[in-house]
């Protein structure tokens, strides 16, 4: 009798382990994602260590079995090449800088928006959430394209300013780093707001009331209570903007200019224009290494969300 509560759980566990099909259910998503998400990185690593060649596919095999000897040729040249050419270093640095600044702007704009949404009357919240998310469901490409017509020298802003007589010659906004950052903030803002909003709606109102009862001023309460409690949302939102923005290709290609060197664009050009697959692979590996800590940070927060 004393072992009453223990027995079923042990039995439960046994039954669960023996439950037929459990392994198969786990295996399906696990195998698919391993094959098509994880395994490819090993291949990128492998090809980043091979030498470019004029062949199909355009690289030399690392493993070579001739005359009964297995030759392994690991070529670190691609990585040395990246380190020696200042273009690549500048591209990594430029990407991180632009992505970081854009993330800060997204946070500065997105946080108050998410806060207002979480505070809005309940019947408004769903509408506001849909309004914020709707642009991200349309088309990324077209939303970036919209800015081309607005920012260009003959675009809406310059035309309006000239018509008003405020300026005589157009201000150059297209093909600048400013345009790239504006594009990133515009395109990624919903992804900043979504986790922040999810976090802020769960905020316990009684904590804020308690702070107010104890005489805390609104801004002080915000700094000492709301902000620390929304840390998870801030991290998730910032990573959702920062990580993809570092590797962004479309925005610097369409809105950037000759001064915009971003690593996603460099990788694309190495791959599609120079057809140098090994260097493109090395660029991808270094980018992945650079983003490992941000990705781990995001994963830590997100897996807490997924499983509790």
């Amino acid at each position: 009798m004393s072992e009453g509560p223990l027995k079923p759980t042990a039995l439960d566990r046994l039954r669960r382990r023996l439950r037929p099909g459990r392994g198969w259910v786990i295996a399906v998503p696990l195998v698919w994602l391993t094959l098509f998400f994880l395994a490819p990185f090993a291949i990128v690593l492998k090809i980043s260590l091979s030498e470019a060649a004029i062949a199909v596919p355009p690289y030399q095999p690392i493993l070579d079995f001739t005359a009964e000897t297995l030759n392994v040729a690991l070529n670190l040249g691609n990585y040395l090449f990246l380190a020696s050419d200042s273009l690549y270093v500048a591209a990594y640095w430029g990407s991180v800088k632009i992505a970081f600044l854009s993330t800060v702007f997204c946070l500065l704009i997105g946080y108050p928006m998410a806060y207002a949404m979480a505070r809005a009357p309940a019947r408004w919240q769903l509408v506001l959430l849909l309004l914020v998310m709707l642009p991200s469901w349309t088309s990324f490409l077209i939303r970036v394209y919209a800015w081309m017509g607005i920012l260009s020298n003959t675009g809406l802003i310059n035309n309006t300013l000239m018509w008003l007589g405020l300026i005589d010659s157009p201000i150059r906004m297209m093909n600048t780093n400013f345009a790239v950052m504006l594009g990133i903030v515009y395109a990624y803002l919903p992804f900043m707001i979504l986790p922040l909003y999810a976090n802020l709606t769960r905020l316990d109102n009684s904590l804020l009331e308690a702070a107010a009862d104890l005489g805390s001023r609104t801004f002080n309460t915000f700094l000492k209570v709301t902000l620390p409690l929304s840390k998870g949302g801030i991290i998730a939102g910032s990573m959702l903007v920062f990580i993809p923005a570092v590797g962004e290709y479309v925005i610097p290609e369409l809105l950037g200019g000759p001064n915009t060197v971003m690593i996603g664009k460099v990788l694309w050009e190495e791959f599609f224009l120079n057809r140098d697959w090994p260097v493109a692979s090395a660029l991808a590996m270094v980018m992945l290494l650079l983003l490992l800590i941000p990705i781990a940070l995001f994963h830590r927060y997100q897996s807490r969300e997924l499983q509790e």
């Binding site: 928006m113 081309m148 697959w277």
Partner: protein, 281 residues
């Protein structure tokens, strides 16, 4: 005495209004200029619907729309199957070997830069073609695999958040009464999470339709998706035909969102009415 009920909006409310204007004004500009009769997108020359007609006559765009829609349909459907399985396994199976790996592989695609995903998948397909002879040609099938993979991560996030909200006691009751797990899943769990499945499917569908970078890497000469056509046109500069296309996309998404909102609100008010009826007597 009438007191003025106007209070100045707080800073956050003001930011919300300005933020929404920031999100929507560029789209409004796109829509307005799609009706411009001039080829120069930026100069207004009068109202005209000619770009819509030209869009409908553009065979390349129409073919790309059809390709994209087919890929998105199949990728979203497969992603819902895989993503739901992954979500179910992570929320209901407790601990198992490979759980950390699975949860990392579900969250990482959400943030992984597209150039990395695209390049790595292409190299995988090239390697597979060398070893097992498939895929000999890259095209719709390879895009479908690539889209299924990253979309299933999004589906898993949407579905697992719903699975955590669902009252598990019903599932447990069914199992206690002797229903096998598979039957419990199909008869109890699946109907309860079906709104999340629909939301996940729609999200995956739009993500697949929208993807340019990954598709450009893994596609072959055989398959050109809509974003590829739009991108090659947009690279040359602004074109009113693209504005017309943008307007149609915005219209379709707004309509779908409005319908989703309408049905959500209706089911919510029904639920409230049912609750009130229970409490009434």
């Amino acid at each position: 005495m009438r007191r003025s009920s106007f209070t100045p909006p707080s800073f956050t409310t003001l930011m919300l209004i300005l933020g929404l204007l920031f999100l929507y004004l560029p789209m409004v500009v796109l829509v307005v200029y799609s009706f411009n009769s001039s080829r120069l997108v930026t100069v207004w020359a009068g109202f005209s619907g000619r770009w819509y007609l030209e869009l409908l006559r553009d065979r390349q765009i129409l073919a790309a729309v059809w390709t994209s829609l087919r890929i998105a349909f199949f990728a979203a459907s497969m992603a819902v199957c895989l993503g739901t399985l992954a979500a179910f396994v992570m929320t209901r199976f407790g601990r198992f070997r490979g759980k950390t790996a699975l949860s990392s592989m579900v969250t990482a695609p959400l943030v992984m830069p597209e150039v990395i995903t695209g390049l790595s998948l292409l190299l995988l397909f090239v390697q597979m073609a060398q070893i097992i002879g498939w895929p000999a040609d890259r095209g719709m099938a390879t895009i479908w695999i690539a889209h299924t993979t990253f979309c299933s991560a999004y589906v898993a996030v949407v579905v697992s958040s719903r699975l955590r909200e669902v009252d598990r006691s019903i599932e447990e009751a069914a199992m206690d009464l002797g229903a096998p797990p598979v039957k419990t899943f199909f008869q109890i769990t699946l109907p309860v999470i079906s709104p999340a499945l629909a939301a996940g499917w729609l999200l995956a569908f739009t993500l697949s339709l929208d993807d340019l970078v990954i598709a450009s890497f893994v596609s072959g000469p055989g398959a050109t998706t809509l974003p590829m056509v739009v991108f090659s046109s947009v690279r040359m500069g602004v074109s009113p035909k693209i504005n017309a296309l943008a307007t149609l996309i915005i219209l379709a998404v707004s309509l779908a969102t409005f319908l989703a909102w309408y049905f959500m609100r209706r089911s919510e008010s029904r639920r409230l009415a049912a609750l009130r009826q229970q409490e009434a007597p």
